[in-house]
Subunit: 480 residues, 2 copies
């Protein structure tokens, strides 16, 4: 599997641009294209990025064409003199560049509707290698290119080369319209993959728990990656020729992992934590608010990244200054004076204030020292308090609310007692945790937001009579 | 320059991981490493990513070692069976793997302080190719590796290979401590680069304005990239042997560009728009609040990404639901009923309400249809209203405030009149613009936040008697 000799149903992805080589631009196209290819049963075996250099582009296309039957290339199709993908492809094909009359007419029409004249630089975009064809670009001015490098001495079979413009908003519609129909016939052996989203457990602990399941020669193959405190378990089956059988093997493993990992599994389909939280709340007709200090709006941004998030998320506050903590959500200034803005008391008061003033059913609050400055010996950079507040009788599943089990509510309350969580006379539960997050300002912020969502997740999960219960210790949590 | 024959002071960057090949993980290390190398005068000429495959890793290292004298590789050093960089490097070197006693002792000590036992899998991390040395990792358990592939038939000179763990929080400290000292002696000819941040102008218009300055054979070389509506002009001089002379050429071009582009230049050092806004406000002792609907906290998050942002940004509101627009910042519900939540009236009222209730000197508000649903024929997906509100006598420079010119304030008011901007009797100016942003939900949100910052930027820039004045039409703005 995946050796240099394994060329069937494989592909390489190439991007070009001096701005990529100089570290000035993050290429995100290769990852996106790889995801599409895998979904179609084509396995990417190499990504290459090169500078704006026709000779190097040609050399890279030539080298890869002897290894894979498909190359997807991005970038270098614009109007400037640094856009050299057309020239590089022409060199690899041994072709001259010719003017494509259809592309020219299209370009001309586009510029006219925008009230612009065709410049000499723009006209360059209607050129193509003689043996290539242009792929229409509905969004931008630069057409894509499609060519076939025939089978030669070093090539086992012909290699299809597709060149697309670099801007993702142009590339993605062209992919669906022009490239996907081209690729489908190439794909053969099925690759069945599945992702699971896991929170509240360290990567090393998960690897230990999975043990022999992660063996390199196992079918399906199981791997783990970590990003901002969220773990993704990747299942992959690609050596089983029958798609239904491959899927059954992957599904059986996923079920097994769910049993083993219990409350830690947020999604067995790789769905993101914010999406699962929005969906779960919306399904129960419950709403959420946020009160953020050190994350400055990131938690709201993550929740509203989810299309349709307005069905569960009402909005909230960025109480970045202490004055706004007091004025907007009613955190008593003596609490801030006595305990500091980064404290259990203030985090709890932020969550409580948000809950009351928004009318939502649940609230998440974050206050911390994100750095690089502001740390003290007692509260070093990375110290973050997160708090979840909710009306105990409001977070239950619909099912539980109408049944006799008490659902999440009583479970959460029972759990709350064992965790020394504040339980108020008005039926509101507040659970606050102190985290100690390593890394940069960006790391601290992202992981704090992720941990707050995880805390809510543990309370939300339930199935009728099985109430949610948060682990006694969250990832990065300090013993209190 | 930058051809396949140009191997001096050049480098290649390699990353490995099936999760990268399958599109499940975005590799961000290559970009970061490229940036570091360029800063040291070493020019990256190729990035390559390959799967977890010892043979392919070895083949890639071997191929690149004949082209560049330095390879930086990341990933594949962890404890799992899929971590095959050690094996790949050993194969490229023709070495066996041996146990490194120092690395083993170090690993053992680390695990003990974490209260863990050394497992067989973890012990693998103390193995190295016989001819390589281990590079200590202060953060994680996996040491890096350093080896030299000697000069052979295909290699013009020896090639240094450095392998680092994939997690950025481990890689970055190791880079400063272990790798940078190793690389400095390699670098020769200076590469002087400079970035300029430009807003409010389309990429194609900028390219046209720059014209011959962007010629491919010019020294310094000038290029443009666009990301989320912000343009970056890249200046680069690498063929002039004298560093001071190279710097003078780049500086002269930057000055020339600043004169040509005027108000559109946010920074002539590549500083981000939020950073410049925070710094400008802080220097004047002025404060900013935000009221966000469709961006859900993104604007606050972008501002608080800036270390020290609390010196200018006080926080704000995420008024995602209509109810919160009314309850939290006092948008009259009849305005919403009559004009819709996405309207000039509501955007202006959000900004005004935020200004009054936060006590800040300026407020930015955003309300729009981010999609994928919610569009109508009158307000299709991508329709966004942004508004800036500020106290006209509060946004001036310190200089202007104490002088006789009136600074930004009177300029903004004059400009406001010509733009039909609302000017209120209480001295508050509100400027609202309707944008029509193409692309996905994520595109609409990011560009809306960027446009709001750009709008404020145009009002903020001034130098004493030269008041800021926004262009009559912002990028993506609809004629009103």
């Amino acid at each position: 599997m995946n050796t240099l000799d394994d060329f069937h149903d494989s592909a390489a992805i190439v991007s070009s641009g001096d701005e990529i080589m100089l570290g000035q631009l993050q290429d995100t196209n290769a990852r996106w294209i790889a995801e599409q290819l895998v979904g179609m049963g084509v396995r990417p075996v190499e990504f290459a990025s090169v500078g704006d250099d026709a000779e190097q582009i040609a050399g890279t296309l030539d080298r890869l064409s002897s290894r894979v039957p498909l190359i997807i290339m991005t970038g270098g199709l614009g109007p400037t003199e640094g856009d050299l993908t057309r020239a590089g492809l022409a060199r690899a094909l041994g072709d001259d560049l010719v003017l494509d009359p259809v592309a020219q007419a299209d370009l001309d029409a586009k510029l006219r509707t925008r009230g612009r004249q065709m410049t000499e630089a723009q006209a360059r975009q209607a050129m193509r290698p003689a043996g290539a064809r242009c792929l229409p670009n509905a969004v931008g001015t630069a057409p894509g290119l499609h060519a076939v490098l025939p089978r030669t001495g070093s090539r086992e079979r012909a290699c299809e080369i597709v060149c697309l413009p670099g801007p993702p908003n142009e590339l993605k519609p062209m992919w669906s319209k022009e490239v996907a129909p081209l690729i489908r016939p190439l794909s053969g052996r099925p690759i069945v993959t599945r992702l699971m989203t896991v929170v509240g457990i360290a990567e090393s602990d998960l690897v230990k728990r999975l043990g022999p399941l992660m063996a390199r020669d196992r079918v399906p193959l199981i791997g783990v990656t970590a990003s901002d405190g969220v773990l993704t378990i990747r299942l992959r089956c690609e050596s089983v020729p029958d798609a239904a059988r491959a899927r059954a093997l992957v599904d059986a493993d996923a079920e097994d992992l769910k049993r083993q990992l219990g409350v830690h599994v947020v999604s067995d389909r790789g769905t993101s934590v914010p999406t699962v939280i929005v969906q779960t709340l919306a399904a129960r007709g419950r709403s959420l608010t946020t009160v953020e200090s050190c994350t400055g709006g990131m938690l709201g941004q993550m929740l509203t990244d989810v299309p349709g998030s307005s069905s569960a998320y009402v909005g909230g506050w960025v109480t970045y200054s202490n004055a706004l903590k007091t004025e907007l959500v009613g955190v008593r200034s003596d609490l801030i004076a006595r305990h500091g803005a980064v404290s259990r008391e203030v985090a709890s008061a932020m969550a409580m204030g948000g809950l009351q003033r928004s009318g939502a059913d649940a609230a998440l609050a974050i206050t911390g020292v994100a750095g690089p400055d502001g740390g003290t010996p007692e509260k070093p950079v990375g110290t973050v308090w997160i708090a979840a507040a909710f009306k105990a009788d409001q977070l239950a599943t619909n099912e539980a609310a109408h049944g006799s089990s008490g659902g999440v509510a009583s479970g959460a309350l029972a759990q709350a007692r064992s965790l020394d969580v504040q339980e108020r006379t008005d039926g509101v539960v507040v659970d606050a945790r102190r985290l100690s997050i390593p890394g940069s300002r960006a790391d601290v912020r992202r992981r704090a937001a992720g941990a707050a969502l995880a805390l809510l997740w543990f309370y939300l999960q339930s199935s009728g009579s099985e109430p949610g219960s948060p682990p006694s210790r969250l990832l990065w949590e300090m013993p209190s």
